[in-house]
């Protein structure tokens, strides 16, 4: 798990697109993968911290992206199958849920979309 946290953090922090466009990409969100949960805290395009399986009300976040482990495993393939190729696709057609302050997600949608796509190179941690 620590290896994935490091890999995902590095992938984000070295990603040319996010670094070029992430000046105001600051938010925290929950990745709920059923078998594990993660709170990702991003500051100015850099992942400052990923909290793994935080306890109840331990780590605050603004919005949540929830789906089954199987859905996230599909996201983690280099070329995902149809409907597992993005958070909109999986929310409209599969079991993904976008919850909490979705406005914050929309305010950061470009960089968030790219950040989630990084799972295609790092793989999913479940």
């Amino acid at each position: 798990m620590e290896a994935w946290v490091q890999k995902f953090t590095e992938a984000n922090n070295q990603d040319p697109e996010i670094q070029a466009h992430g000046k105001y990409f600051t938010c925290s969100y929950l990745l709920d993968m059923a078998e594990h949960t993660f709170v990702v805290r991003v500051v100015a395009g850099t992942i400052a911290q990923i909290s793994v399986d935080p306890g109840p009300i331990e780590v605050p976040y603004q919005f949540a992206i929830r789906a089954s482990a199987q859905t996230w495993r599909e996201f983690g393939k280099p070329v995902p199958a149809p409907m597992y190729h993005g958070i909109w696709a999986a929310t409209f057609q599969r079991d993904m849920k976008l919850e909490g302050d979705v406005l914050v997600l929309m305010q950061n949608l470009r960089c968030m979309t790219r950040q989630i796509e990084l799972l295609r190179s790092t793989g999913a941690p479940v």
Partner: protein, 286 residues
Amino acid sequence: MSKISPVTGHYVTVDVDGLEYKVFYLENGSGQPLVCQHTAGAHNHQWRGLLEDPQITAEYRVIAYDLPRHGKSDPPENTEWWTEEYQLSADHFANFIVALCDALELVDPIFMGSSFGGNVALQLAHRFPERFDAVIPVEGADYSPGFYLDWWQHPHANAAQVCGSGTWDLMAPQSPEADRWKTWFYYTQGSEAFKGDLHFYSVDHDLRGKLDEIQTDKCAVVLMTGEYDYLTTPEDGARTASQIPGAEFIEMKAIGHFPMSENYPVFRGYLVQALDLIRSKTRARV
């Protein structure tokens, strides 16, 4: 070799439903008119690959217009449009396309549109089968609810990026990155029209229970849908086609909701199939 593209641009004045529009269109080729509608919130550059396709433009006059309020086609010339909320209706959209074809004096055109253009293609086949030789609804269906969202125009978010990245997942991961980014870029330019367009796409367009009224002996119908389209899925396209007597359906692999724009070489193979089907059907009419 000249670096000047054979594609040319023109404006034509179109009067419809009491509104006057100056409509911009790109065209290339000669032969049967193939009139192309871009997707909601976009403009005619989505058809850039088709417009410069030497084989297809040898047989067809490809015309790709900007719907009013998109690209270089301004909102109406004769109303205070800024005092009203833009909500595109099925009546006005269909009437506009017929008025455009009349203004261009097109004979037996084929109409092709994607997404809301696919839906209006079905509306045209239903309403005006005598005016069109055939329609090719791309990523279209009888009904497509769920996308008339406030997020496209929310004042607390960057609407350009929400429109661009909110439609990103409609494209297939296999499509070339540069073409997906061009499509994203078009979407950043159309955020003030996108939501109003989707009023037609997700609210006013509803042909459920009416598909069997479409007369494909007068206006052939070939639907095409990409497998990565999460809005109008291949199942939606197949269901729609199955309820139109004589309609054909083609599922397009490894491509999404903006096929002509996100991956023209893949789209082209399917389009040639569709045009061949139309040719065989219209020849059988004579």
